[in-house]
């Protein structure tokens, strides 16, 4: 599985951060860019003005990094931007000064990610100090990255 010849960090260099999609094809629990932020769609409904009006899509999204809520309403014929989302699992090797040290598949260690805030961050820290080995899932979209999940290493 680990193909050391491939450089992962540059793997998406050419890919654009977002791609367009017609509003009607978006789905709940999918992703969309609202007000310039990558969001997960948590609510989606259609409405129309008058019985013979055309459909409009009403979306409520939550910023996948900041948890802020955004809403938007647009005609269902419009195209919306959808962020390219990536998730990677890295092994946690160290925590120092609020930053995670994560080992990538090719053996390199990156130390540029903060310990996430809230319960998850606490959990990571306590498990780490208890000496448990774990994988941390890192979500990246539109040039931002953040740890979003942990999973104990399977023995």
């Amino acid at each position: 599985m680990a193909d050391t010849d491939l450089d992962f960090t540059s793997g998406d260099a050419g890919a654009s951060a977002t791609f367009p999609m017609q509003c009607s094809a978006l789905r709940k629990n999918g992703f969309v860019v609202l007000k310039g932020r990558p969001c997960k769609i948590v609510e989606m409904s259609t409405s129309k003005t008058g019985k013979h009006g055309h459909a409009k899509v009403h979306m409520v999204g939550i910023d996948i990094f900041t948890n802020k809520k955004y809403e938007d309403i647009c005609p269902s014929t419009h195209n919306m931007d959808v962020p390219n989302i990536k998730r990677n699992d890295y092994q946690l090797v160290d925590i120092s000064e609020g930053f995670l040290s994560l080992m990538m598949d090719n053996g390199d260690v990156r130390e540029d990610l903060r310990v996430p805030e809230g319960d998850l961050g606490k959990e990571i820290e306590s498990k780490f100090s208890a000496g448990e080995e774990m994988l941390v899932t890192v979500l990246s979209a539109m040039g931002e990255e953040s740890a979003v999940a942990l999973k104990p290493m399977t023995k």
Partner: protein
């Protein structure tokens, strides 16, 4: 006549008749409790109670009372109708009288006479008055009861004149209610009384005309025409109709936001439309051309837009010309706008919308008129429509038709004889359409418009069906226009209506199976029967329509959905599918979809799934093997190929996160769901093996996408879908395969999810989507035990049986493995989400029912949590959930009984449940619906534990009256049934005290049963009646009424357990009376809240002693009104609704005995008590209420035990807030 029958016991005398004429006396007559009137009280109660059929249970004699009364009630109603409360009562009384049936009528003649009386009275009443808003529903109820209760033979036996005027009156009423209902809609009223009444009447019409063979032929045609016309009128815009017109003729028009939750008109008004459709068929001769005529008009409208000249409507309908001319100007302006700018004037938009709305309703009515939509059955052409078509078939020149079919694009006028033919059938719409279509000119939008409507034009009525194809073809040829430029002006709603109509039509009319009909209309079968050119054309056209819609309307989810549903309809029957697959369009659609090329990929996922379903279904049509191979190669194989290519790429693990790859995967998974949905019994074999390949690959994907929940969920969904659709058809080996992959899925899932913590921004409930899906999957796998269509002759079956238990995996293994995963993940918090909670309990109940033997084998902690969740579900969840839990108990107890082992965890657990269920049934409030489930559980549990001495002893006592036989209960069905029955009685009678069952008889205990629901309205006196009653009682003095002997002796008024009345024993009443007298002191004031027997005792003591105290009785039962001014009517539901005379904090002591043992009741009574008392409170209620009594009123429980005349099953106690001798 009735006097002659021996059954008449009560015959009101002349003096009664006189008194009937005065409404007050009449009402008193209803309520006074003396000997004869008692019967009437009962009659009235029965009348008012929602179940009128109790009449038939009445002894013969009594039941003739209402018969003599109804005339009186009519009169009364006319007198009291200004007073809406009382009018409601009398109308309801009448409605109940109208539903009288059963042994009360000695023979049919009696019934006829009764009905004649009733109808006559009704007609007199209605004709004499202008109906008030509040009366509409009442009157509709009377009529609807009358029509649904009396057999047709009785209705027809009415004097024809009377019947005639009844039908007439019904017609007029229906039309007028319809108009008022429309008005209500315009005014946006909250309370749609006319709508309700209109619905009721239309329903009655349906009942009438469905059996119209009993009635004189044709007697309903005229009424049907009238009702139909008025309906159409109400739904069309002025000047043809009155839509949106308020009473003063002003039209209102506002654009409101409509969200997706709002039902479409065709669902919302489906009952109305079905009735109207039925009426329309009755009068097919009138209604079909009428609809066509209206359509025609609309066609002309559009033509006027297209041709930009005066429409030729005059010829068709001179009356309407005015309207068209007026609007024509508008449309012209609109058109110019359109030419110059893309903006639309709002004014023009309104005009268009009006037009759309007209079309919308006409299509709806036509749809319901032409076809029924029986769920699950093969829809038949309604016989009326068939007759109509046959009748007109002779007027149709087949040759002309064929000629027309053969020359698309040519003006029908150019074919000799055609026009006449067209006109004589009222088929003009076809003509202008064709002509317009044939017009030269490079205005693509014209044709676009035309094409859109032509799909509507072509839906002419059956007699004209041959023409359909011609029009189709012409419009087909002419309308390859770009529609996009006009899309923004078109109405998606109308598009939706059109495909809905086409679907309904296609289901019934396309490829008529002649075998299903006794007679068939030639034109119908020649036009759309099997092997006709017409059928092929229409299929081609419909396909075009679908394809066009999918590209133009991809952004309208509902429209797209209706469109693909039309497609499914086309292919779900083999005969139709055979034609469909011959069309080139179909193949191109298939290719287009398989290659994921635009615009199909813009459709929402639900639509894409259905589209896939349709494509797969189409693949099972009859084709020669080459073609078939080719088809699959173009539809399914690309899917497989692309998928395999993708996942077998060397670097798949690395590229899997790339968006393109993810999209491809998602699309494939969606398509798989669609394929699973297409499963039918005859294609399951090939689809299953196709899907199985994918399923094993999907497990690999689970690993790859372990950190992206969206994809994981979708993968599980594929499994859920496959299990749901296919498992019931699978034979043993195949099920085994499916179990195996499911097991693998579960293993991977648990490996990747145990211990995983994630930070998910989604709503909490969605986070657990995977859990929900896993549970759904397990439930689906289990369902095989209930529904199994598998072929028992499967090849490997014999072998497997011989090899005995050597099966690799069984459903039980998979499911229990799954439960091992799910149980630890389900926490109490998660059960708060309704969807998870439902699915969870469904699953565990299933498991308990199917594999009870596996339950004791669960690991200890799992077993414990399972039992805990059962208890939790039983006690704290909704009634549905507790019902499920109760159902799970019996099999568990049976399992225990089978193994005969004691002291197993399960045995101990069941012991606990026995107590729980018993408490639930006997001591706590519970829903009566659950009695059966609880009873079953209780019974099995009792059987199991009968050897347990203590419990047995207790139960034996409790069930003394319950089990008639003294034999110990055993697990056999007969006994169980007997037990259930007596349990029901037991619960209903003895312990009605705190059973909600009491509500059925009396509304007073439960707020959810409040008066809001008019059908279930309980007897309740209006304010006026009360006043009159009280006055009457005062006049008649204290000794009057139903109180016998000493008016103040306890028991002078009999207990009425329906009101939850239980009098204290003499001693208790005396003890309590002494207590309050003492506490009140000389000249003190005492209030008895719902404690009449204490009041009575007080009065007795008072008369025998010098000590005086003034006492007031607050009581719900009006029989105590005999005590005059000291009686105050009190309903604990309105705890502070007290007469002005009762000032706050003016009573030295208040004694209260809340009628029900519930917190709700106590807390309301507490309000009253606190309001009344200066300080001292004496409360008598169940021992179980101790906590609440302390909390609400700061009362301490006394050791004194109050006793009742009749033993109560519940421990009863007194509570005080002062130092009392009762305490020790």
């Amino acid at each position: 006549m009735f006097e002659a029958t021996p059954n008449v016991m009560l015959k009101p005398t002349e003096s009664w008749r006189e008194s009937l004429l005065d409404h007050r006396v009449m009402d008193l007559f209803f309520t006074i409790g003396d000997r004869e009137a008692d019967l009437i009280v009962e009659a009235r109660k029965l009348c008012m109670s929602s179940e009128a059929c109790v009449f038939c249970q009445l002894p013969m004699g009594r039941s003739s009372v209402p018969l003599e009364l109804f005339e009186g009630v009519y009169v009364v109603h006319r007198k009291i109708r200004e007073d809406s409360d009382m009018a409601q009562d009398s109308l309801q009384c009448l409605a109940q009288l109208a539903s009288m049936h059963g042994p009360i009528f000695p023979d049919e003649n009696a019934q006829v006479t009764y009905l004649a009386h009733l109808v006559e009275g009704l007609l007199n009443m209605i004709n004499g008055i202008e109906i008030e808003d509040s009366e509409a529903v009442g009157i509709a109820n009377i009529i609807s009861n009358l029509i649904s209760t009396f057999p047709r033979s009785v209705l027809t036996a009415l004097p024809s004149e009377l019947f005639g005027s009844f039908v007439n009156c019904l017609t007029l009423l229906t039309c007028s209610f319809g108009r008022s209902a429309a008005l209500e809609e315009v005014l946006d009223k909250d309370d749609m009384v006319y709508m309700e009444a209109y619905d009721k009447l239309l329903e009655s019409w349906l009942t009438l005309v469905q059996e119209d063979e009993h009635f004189p032929r044709g007697c309903f045609i005229q009424p049907a025409v009238q009702v139909f016309n008025s309906y159409i009128q109400c739904h069309l815009a002025a000047p043809d109709g009155t839509r949106n017109l308020t009473a003063n003729g002003v039209s209102s028009h506002e654009e409101e936001e409509i969200n997706e939750l709002q039902e479409d008109d065709r669902e919302l008004f489906s009952d109305q439309l079905a009735s109207i459709g039925m009426l329309g068929r009755i009068a097919a001769d009138h209604c079909i051309p009428l609809l066509t005529g209206y359509r025609l008009l609309i066609q002309e409208f559009l033509l006027s837009m297209i041709n930009n000249r005066r429409p030729h409507v005059a010829r068709i309908c001179r009356l309407l010309e005015d309207r068209v001319t007026r609007l024509h100007g508008q449309l012209q302006r609109h058109q110019q706008h359109l030419m110059s700018t893309s903006d639309t004037d709002t004014g023009d938009r309104i005009v268009l919308d009006e037009l759309y709305e007209d079309i919308h309703w006409i299509i709806l009515v036509s749809g319901y008129l032409l076809a029924d939509d029986p769920q699950g059955e093969t829809p038949l052409i309604p016989s009326e429509v068939m007759e109509y078509s046959i009748k007109h078939s002779t007027e149709v020149d087949i040759n002309t038709t064929l000629q027309l079919l053969g020359s698309p694009g040519e003006k029908p006028t150019s074919i000799p004889g055609c026009l006449t033919n067209v006109e004589c059938l009222g088929m003009c719409p076809a003509e202008p359409a064709t002509r317009a279509a044939a017009l030269p000119g490079p205005q693509p939008w014209r044709q676009a418009m035309l094409q859109h409507y032509s799909s509507h034009i072509i839906q002419l009525e059956p007699g004209q069906r041959r023409l359909l194809s011609a029009v189709l073809r012409t419009s087909e040829v002419e309308s390859r226009a770009t529609r996009a430029s006009l899309t923004q002006l078109l109405s998606p709603q109308m598009g939706k209506d059109i495909v809905w109509f086409l679907r309904r039509w296609a289901k019934t009319y396309l490829l008529v199976d002649e075998k299903l009909y006794g007679q068939i209309s030639m034109p119908l079968s020649t036009a759309f029967g099997p092997d006709t050119e017409g059928a092929q054309w229409i299929v081609g056209y419909l396909l075009d329509k679908v394809i066009n819609n999918l590209s133009v309307w991809s952004s309208e989810p509902e429209l797209a959905n209706d469109t693909v549903e039309l497609l499914v309809t086309l292919v779900e029957r083999r005969e139709r599918a055979n034609i469909v697959v011959q069309c080139e369009n179909w193949w191109s659609l298939a290719k287009q979809f398989a290659s994921r090329s635009p615009p199909l990929h813009m459709l929402s996922s639900a639509v894409q799934r259905t589209l896939m379903k349709a494509l797969v279904l189409g693949g099972f049509a009859h084709m020669d093997s080459d073609t078939k191979q080719q088809y699959w190669a173009e539809v399914l194989h690309p899917l497989q190929q692309r998928f395999l290519n993708l996942i077998n790429q060397e670097n798949f693990a690395q590229i899997c996160q790339e968006e393109v790859v993810k999209q491809e995967i998602v699309a494939t998974l969606e398509a798989l769901c669609g394929i699973a949905e297409a499963t039918q019994i005859d294609n399951v074999a090939s689809l299953f093996s196709f899907l199985m390949d994918f399923l094993s690959n999907c497990i690999g994907l689970m690993e790859v996408y372990r950190n992206s929940p969206e994809t994981i969920n979708l993968i599980i969904e594929v499994f859920v879908e496959v299990a749901h659709k296919q498992i019931c058809y699978l034979g043993e080996t195949k099920s085994m395969k499916l179990y195996e992959v499911c097991l693998m899925l579960l293993q991977v899932y648990s490996k990747n999810n145990l211990g995983r913590k994630r930070l998910d921004v989604a709503g909490e409930e969605e986070q657990y989507q995977d859990l929900l899906l896993i549970m759904e999957l397990l439930t689906n796998l289990l369902s095989k035990e209930f529904i199994d269509f598998s072929d028992s002759d499967e090849v490997f079956r014999g072998q497997e049986q011989s090899s005995g238990g050597g099966r690799a995996v069984s459903a039980a293994d998979v499911v229990l493995y799954g439960v091992n995963i799910v149980l630890p993940l389900m926490s109490q918090d998660l059960l708060k989400f309704p969807s998870l909670c439902n699915q969870y309990y469904k699953l565990i109940t299933f498991i308990c029912e199917i594999f009870p033997e596996k339950i004791p084998q669960l690991p200890e902690d799992l077993f414990k949590s399972l039992m805990c969740s059962l208890e939790l579900g039983m006690t704290t969840m909704s009634s549905e959930i507790s019902q499920l839990c109760l159902e799970a108990l019996s099999p568990l107890a049976e399992q225990c009984a089978k193994t005969q082992e004691k002291d197993t965890p399960l045995f101990i657990a069941t012991q606990h449940f026995l107590k729980l269920v018993f408490d639930m049934l006997v001591l706590q409030k519970h829903n009566t619906e659950m009695t059966v489930a609880a009873g079953e559980a209780l019974y099995t549990l009792v059987c199991l534990h009968q050897r347990d001495a203590v419990i047995y002893q207790r139960l034996a006592e409790a069930f003394n009256g319950l089990t008639a036989s003294s034999t110990p209960p055993t697990l056999d069905r007969k006994q169980k049934v007997a037990f259930l029955k007596s349990l029901e009685e037991f619960v209903a009678n003895v312990n009605i005290y705190e059973m909600q069952g009491a509500i059925v008889f009396f509304p007073h205990s439960d707020s959810s049963m409040k008066m809001s629901d008019s059908d279930d309205e309980e007897p309740r006196l209006s304010a006026e009646t009360l006043a009159a009653l009280q006055e009457f009682y005062t006049e008649s003095g204290r000794t009057g009424g139903s109180v016998r002997g000493d008016p103040f002796s306890v028991g002078a008024v009999e207990e009425d357990w329906r009101m939850s009345q239980f009098w204290y024993s003499e001693e208790t009443a005396a003890r309590l009376a002494e207590e309050v007298l003492q506490q009140a002191g000389e000249h003190g004031r005492i209030a008895c809240v719902s404690a009449p027997s204490v009041y009575q005792k007080l009065k007795q003591l008072e008369s025998s002693r010098s000590q005086r105290a003034s006492t007031v009785l607050l009581e719900f039962d009006r029989r105590f009104a005999v005590y005059g001014e000291e009686f105050v009517f009190y309903d604990y539901n309105n705890p502070l609704c007290l007469p002005e005379g009762l000032l706050p904090q003016t009573f030295d002591v208040v004694i209260a005995d809340p009628p029900y043992l519930s917190e709700e009741c106590l807390s309301k009574v507490a309000l009253t008590v606190q309001y009344l008392t200066k300080d001292k409170i004496l409360l008598c209620t169940g021992a179980t209420m101790e906590e609440h009594a302390g909390k609400l009123l700061n009362l301490k429980i006394c050791s004194y035990l109050p006793k009742h005349n009749h033993n109560l099953a519940n421990e009863f106690r007194c509570y005080v807030n002062y130092n009392s001798t009762l305490l020790s």
